[in-house]
């Protein structure tokens, strides 16, 4: 549905090395929910705006369906209004001089859709976002969440092949954000549109997406479904960006099948299965997520078990966060409130081999 090929964009024409985006390539399948995730300044918004046509890349090619909308080689740059896209903006960009209905009607008016059909489509779009009763309300008289829904209705009503979303939830408060997240995913599934989503919030990316592209310094660092990205990241950056992570330096000393035996500051550990990428890397680290570590009162089988003392703990209801001293190293562990170990107590940390993941720099 969407193909982005070798996209490059300089942000300073006079500086050949200052790239906002470089060598960005990806394919999005029809109906897929695809997310560009990264810290601010990583190039995700530039990529999205290049797809929309709001920015002109310097090199590369972008295809929406069968249409090439941008190609630096062939000299193609289709203007925004003739691309088969719809877009939701961070500021919602609801036109304050129009009513809700007029806002949603605008794309149809611009495309010259006949009145009767337009009325039907507006009705349906407003119903979809639960704002049918607000049609004649002036747009500024809406709450943030309602404005967000108008923006979604306005985007859906166009029935474009690709829906572009630029951090649409970042201006909402936390509770509303979670609720809208669910609604958004639901809507996209029902309509079956292809969605490209930009966010810096890893939880949002995980819970919404079919696949996530983690970006850093203008490049895609890793591209994978959320679960793989979280449980089996390949790079240090992605591992740290998508969740809490303790990274230990590690040196390979042997292997068991595809799994490695490594030396770490916590001692000798067995890891999850590794690939050639890790084998070829000059520097590797071991990732253990705090919630994957199990605390025990005493050792069980000796495999990947490390003894330690609970230095301090923070109780926050659902979870309990421990800082555990093992030798001269502090390890973060997240437990549930089912069983709580008090500070000062001797414990054994069990690090399940399948969750000891080797990542490269």
């Amino acid at each position: 549905m969407l193909q982005v090929d070798q996209l490059r964009k300089r942000y300073d024409r006079t500086d050949a090395k200052a790239f906002a985006v470089q060598e960005v390539s990806f394919n999005v399948k029809p109906g897929e929910f695809f997310t560009l995730l990264g810290p601010s300044g990583c190039g995700k918004t530039t990529t999205l705006r290049s797809i929309a046509g709001l920015e002109m890349p310097d090199e590369g090619e972008i295809r929406i369906g069968e249409d090439t909308v941008f190609s630096s080689v062939r000299g193609i740059a289709v203007p925004v209004n003739r691309r088969n896209i719809a877009m939701v903006f961070q500021s919602y960009a609801i036109w304050p001089h129009m009513t809700v209905g007029q806002n949603v009607a605008f794309p149809l008016e611009a495309m010259g859709v006949p009145t009767a059909e337009a009325a039907r489509r507006i009705e349906r779009a407003l119903e979809m976002v639960g704002l049918a009763a607000f049609r004649d309300r002036p747009a500024p008289m809406l709450s943030g969440g309602q404005q967000q829904r108008v923006a979604l209705a306005r985007a859906f009503v166009k029935e474009a092949r690709v829906l572009l979303l630029d951090e649409p939830l970042s201006n909402l408060d936390a509770k509303l954000r979670e609720q809208m997240r669910v609604e958004l995913r639901d809507l996209q599934r029902r309509v079956g549109t292809t969605a490209i989503y930009v966010t810096h919030d890893q939880e949002e990316a995980m819970s919404l997406s079919d696949r996530v592209a983690v970006m850093n310094e203008g490049r895609i660092v890793e591209l994978a479904p959320p679960r793989a990205l979280y449980l089996r990241p390949r790079t240090r950056f992605a591992a740290q960006f998508v969740g809490q992570a303790d990274l230990l330096d590690c040196t390979r000393v042997g292997s068991e099948g595809n799994a490695w035996i490594v030396d770490t500051p916590l001692g000798r550990l067995r890891t999850a299965d590794c690939s050639d990428a890790e084998a070829g890397a000059s520097k590797t680290s071991l990732l253990i997520r705090p919630e994957h570590i199990e605390l025990r009162a005493s050792p069980e089988n000796g495999l990947n078990e490390v003894a330690g003392v609970i230095e301090r703990l923070v109780f926050s209801g659902r979870i309990v966060e421990y800082i555990i001293r093992a030798g001269d190293r502090l390890v973060r562990v997240q437990g549930t409130s089912r069983e709580i170990f008090e500070a000062g107590r001797q414990v054994v940390m069990s690090l399940p081999p399948e969750h000891c993941v080797v990542v490269t720099d």
């Binding site: 942000y11 920015e55 925004v80 961070q90 960009a93 572009l164 810096h200």
Partner: protein, 582 residues
């Protein structure tokens, strides 16, 4: 959350601007240089020409020596400084008191006063001066007569044709400006700063000295410098009240050397020499103003969080304070306008009492509606005001679109060029424009027509128009336009359906403001006046200086009526645009 190059300001979508923007930027910059810089350069050149005409040959410093070595130059300077400082000090004192009472105390009716304060601004200063001349002139002034009779005095206690008289009337006229400047500073001061001081055990006096004054200081200083600039520049009141008594300030001296010079020929060379000196003072004040406003930005004590300002309780002083504020409005609006209305109903200037009430007639007003000279002046005024306002609104919009949205190379220059005319006094702008169009008479024969006034007004009011347009343009998020493009709308549809409706209230507000101010502008009009471009303010001036006070009053009454209407419209529109773009 976007690409690194994006700055805090909403810049153009692609970061660099297209050819269209660059071409229009060049065109606008050239136009502004022509409107603003060329007249000033010619003014400078004129000051070293023996004839005073910039294009004629020769070099001389005699213009400077004649002006600066003349015996009364010291006095001129002294009067100017005294008038400017005195008016500023009095207006500041009254403005601070009014702002504090309205914003920070339980003064009765403070919300009404907050709205009423724009009333004095609807009164052209020249009318305020004429009104006060009718009240306090030593021979016929109503108040003087009443006091003489009431107290049995032999001579009139007040003479408005004096420096103190000028200061008094000028201060009355400037109080609203001071109020509008200072009220936000009083309103926005976080009460927790005061509460913290009180909680630390500070006495009231200590609180004022150590906390309030330091916090308000930048706003106070900026306001005072702004008023000082206005007082150095102003012509209307010193012209009406000072010139009859041969009391001159810089601006009236320039007018005198041009219009009433002893030789009968305008002394353009000396005018330019004086003008150059004038500009120097203004440049110094302008720099000071910018420094103080920068300072007050830094001091912005206040965050976005909402709070209720601490309100002082006036106690037994509530009603006396109410009385004092009412007296101000009585002096600034009711008394001068009342006497003008009275005079406009009289066949000749009389003392208002029951006996003369029988003389009341509408003859002056009927005459106003029939007199060909008045009709021409009204039509001229309207034409000039409407054409200038339309041009200013259009140019302001283009300037702000370039400066805020497109930001091509040279955007800052355009911004500054558009703002600079604010510091050029009306009389000087008048003289400078004369030089340009006397020099260009073969190409643009506009000298002596109403169009030379249009050019001068556009130059003058672009400074205000571009400021207002910038403010609105900044508030319009570029994503609003991008969303329209992403919705499938082409360039023209985006402009017609999104951009234009969003900026329309601002355009209307600029338009009405310029109409209202162009209708009342006196000093530039006087400098550029000729037989064929009489406007209402110059006609009013002619009647007044020609000894026809009742006719002058009639013109004034109609002018105030029209201005009040326009200002009410402006107020309504600007509050609407403020609520909409937020």
């Amino acid at each position: 959350m976007s690409a690194a190059p994006q700055s805090g300001a909403w810049s153009s979508p692609s970061g660099s601007s297209g050819w269209g923007a660059r071409l229009s930027a060049a065109a606008v910059a050239l136009l502004l240089v022509y409107l603003v810089i060329v007249p000033l350069v010619l003014l400078g050149i004129s000051s070293i020409r023996p004839t005073g005409f910039p294009l004629e040959p020769g070099f001389t410093l005699s213009n400077f020596s004649k002006v600066f070595l003349a015996g009364d130059f010291g006095r001129l300077l002294q009067t100017t400084v005294l008038f400017a400082l005195g008016s500023t000090a009095l207006a500041m004192a009254l403005g601070v008191a009014l702002a504090w009472l309205v914003e920070r105390t339980d003064l009765p009716g403070r919300n009404v006063f907050r709205v009423l304060v724009i009333l004095p601004m609807a009164t052209p200063p020249v009318l305020l001066a004429i009104g006060w001349a009718m009240l306090l002139s030593p021979r016929t002034g109503l108040f003087n007569l009443l006091l003489k009779d009431g107290l049995g005095l032999s001579a009139a206690p007040f003479n408005v044709y004096s420096v103190p008289g000028m200061i008094f009337v000028e201060a009355l006229a400037l109080v609203p400006t001071a109020f509008l400047f200072l009220a936000p500073a009083f309103r926005n001061m976080d009460p927790s700063l005061e509460e913290a001081a009180i909680a630390s055990g500070a006495s009231t006096w200590r609180l004022i000295r150590k906390v309030l004054l330091p916090l308000l200081w930048p706003a106070l200083a900026a306001c005072a410098v702004f008023l000082l600039i206005v007082c150095f520049v102003v012509f209307d009141i010193p012209g009406t009240l000072g010139m009859p008594a041969r009391i001159y300030v810089l601006s009236t001296r320039i007018f005198y050397l041009t219009a009433d010079s002893p030789t009968g020929v305008p002394l353009y060379g000396q005018v330019s020499a004086l003008g150059s000196f004038f500009l120097l003072i203004l440049a110094v004040l302008g720099v000071a103003y910018f420094r103080f406003t920068r300072e007050s930005q830094r001091y912005r004590t206040i965050s976005g969080k909402g709070f209720r300002p601490r309100q002082a309780s006036l106690g037994v002083w509530r009603w006396p304070a109410f009385g004092a504020v009412s007296v101000y409005f009585l002096l600034a609006v009711v008394a001068p306008l009342g006497i003008l209305i009275w005079a406009s109903l009289m066949p000749y200037q009389t003392r208002p009492n029951l006996a003369s009430l029988s003389l009341a007639t509408l003859d002056n007003h009927m005459d106003f509606l029939r007199n060909a000279r008045l009709i021409t002046a009204t039509l001229n005024s309207l034409t000039i005001a409407i054409v200038s306002a339309t041009l200013v609104a259009a140019l302001s919009l283009i300037v702000s679109w370039l400066v805020v949205r497109q930001r091509p190379a040279g955007a800052t220059l355009i911004d500054n060029l558009a703002f600079a005319p604010i510091a050029i006094p009306g009389v000087m702008l008048g003289v400078a424009v004369i030089y340009v169009y006397l020099s260009l008479d073969q190409v643009f024969p506009v000298y002596g027509t109403i169009w030379i006034l249009v050019i001068a007004y556009v130059t003058h009011y672009i400074s205000f128009g571009s400021r207002l347009a910038n403010g609105v343009m900044v508030q319009i998020h570029p994503e609003l336009e991008e969303a329209a493009r992403a919705s499938g709308a082409g360039g023209f549809r985006v402009l017609a359906r999104i951009t234009a409706p969003l900026v329309w209230p601002a355009v209307a507000a600029i338009w009405i403001w310029v109409v209202a101010h162009a209708m009342r502008e006196l000093s530039t009009a006087l400098m550029l006046a000729s037989r064929n471009n009489t406007v209402l303010p110059t006609l009013l001036w002619d009647y007044w200086t020609g000894g026809e006070p009742t006719r002058a009053a009639t013109v004034g009454v109609w002018l105030v009526l029209a201005l009040a209407l326009f200002l009410a419209l402006w107020h309504a529109l600007s509050t609407r645009s403020a609520s909409r773009t937020s």
